[in-house]
Symmetry: C2
Subunit: 358 residues, 2 copies
Amino acid sequence: MTVIAVVGAGYMGTALTFPASDNNHEVRLVGTHLDEEIIRNCLENGFHPKLKRPLPLNVTPFFHNQIAEAVPDAEIVVLGVNSRGVHWAAEQLAPYLRPGQITLMVTKGLEEDKTGALRVLPDIFAADLPPSIRDQIYYAAIGGPSIAGELAARRHTSVVFTSRTPKILPYLQAAFSTPYYHIWTSTDLIGVEVCVALKNPYALAVGLAAGLVERENPPDIAGAKQHNFAAAIFAQGLAETAQLVQVMGGGMETVFSLPGAGDLYVTTQGGRNSRMGRLLGMGMRYADAVEEMPNETVEGVEATIAIVPSVERMIANGQLPDNAMPLLRRLYKILTQNEPVDFDFNRFFGQLSFNPPV
Amino acid sequence: MTVIAVVGAGYMGTALTFPASDNNHEVRLVGTHLDEEIIRNCLENGFHPKLKRPLPLNVTPFFHNQIAEAVPDAEIVVLGVNSRGVHWAAEQLAPYLRPGQITLMVTKGLEEDKTGALRVLPDIFAADLPPSIRDQIYYAAIGGPSIAGELAARRHTSVVFTSRTPKILPYLQAAFSTPYYHIWTSTDLIGVEVCVALKNPYALAVGLAAGLVERENPPDIAGAKQHNFAAAIFAQGLAETAQLVQVMGGGMETVFSLPGAGDLYVTTQGGRNSRMGRLLGMGMRYADAVEEMPNETVEGVEATIAIVPSVERMIANGQLPDNAMPLLRRLYKILTQNEPVDFDFNRFFGQLSFNPPV
């Protein structure tokens, strides 16, 4: 039996308590200051209002002011906060982390460190910790196609657990593996985390095609829709992911398997990023589309706004070529400058050995 | 102006006459012996019954017994026959091909040559031609996400034209490029053609998940479906594609861009392979599912049955490892031996550096 503390009681953090509980671990679900209502619900009636299902057996809910009780003796600390919560989590957790603990991140994103270099979130989290503990704990993360509600429904879910420290991976794998939760392990932390961060913006971009069909290209006399358009966006999204993975030092097999292709696919099959994409594709301005989705975090929007300025700097200093990532950069303008939803397809795939259209 | 003969009046061959006609080429649409009714319709009322739309302006229909009029002075001969028609096409065309002509293949598939080696279709076609003409003509092919009806509707479509002979590529690109038909060129003929051949089986496999949800896993109390399952199949399909591309000598960037990821994505978004997958996932035996889709060629079925015996031989002779392509091989048993639709997920991704589930 392992003691597992999950910090952040949102969709994905809570979903992970299901396989952990099924494996008879002692699981503690620690809400953030944004999760007070959720934790109250969990304590009062054992029901998680966001996941819309009962909390599993071996899970004890904690309010964020109980973090001192929940974390110090946990062997695994799952970080399930949102992407803006990583600094908060480092600050809150620092006093309670102990040498030998494993942190397992499900938060998605990329961020610049103090030198201006784009970094994966486990590294951003580590940099925020005091030097006294920073090198005394282990860092791991999860990537791959995993809709939280399906994992919580104990439906087949296949993911990759990653860490630069190979020796902790079999332990983590054993702690969470169940007949429905299939876990591969990989030391390509960079590749997995870049894929995880980029799938939301590119799923949003694929969703634009659905909206465009409704706005200006309804099915024609013979029923033609706009799947070729969406598929080109999907392919360019994966190719841009491959480009950033490569520049940051990750591996291609991470891109063409679960963390890249698989997670991008599942994210295009519904959810908030697709809905936002559809609204924008229908011609709604971003400011109005946000009003249509009140109180919902659209991770693809946040990631685009967080990442593109770094990409522009990487282009300016020669780390990326001038023609890098035109889709993500276009999406940034659509989201921040009210530019219309159109794409110069011919600028896509510029980093490949293909010769572009003329 | 170029003279372009399209041999095979099915969906994709005919769809290519749209950009060709829009570029003011002289386009000849030559039916096979299976296309008599289609060509008669085209001649009588200028309407293509399969694509369900009028034939474009500069297209002249020909019956197959007029091949001698249509082909000899064409600069480009598009091969739009079905995968079983490649040998027929070589036999029919051999007397009329002239040195310097370009053949451009849209037919999908892989086949063993006389030595037992798995080959891409342009090579199978070339091997069937008499030596007198075989080395006198050029071979090219098309890959990428391209639903024929959308191309014929002049909706944005992005593809890769490929040939081992770089000098013909700009010519082909110019002949077919339009504001809606975006053409990249690549010399990775092997990579493109392996991707093209494998997308149908893997799209069918992704479709199985939709059927399975209907049969045994309807959305639960909280609405959970089975997208994680489908996404794992998608990712494994692309990873198996990467494995075969690599063994046959193609390149990874073909896999993670338009020909691999893009075409697999579009093929999962509907069509006959997805429908067949859904029927099988619902528990129908293959023999019964075929009855539900009369007179329809399901390319994913034909490709699986054509390719898997070669894959087994490649495993037997050490060209592929024992754990290669478990998804395609499982699909073969589902289709040919009435085996149930289930998968041992833990056998997936065996060729990657990931450590598998235990």
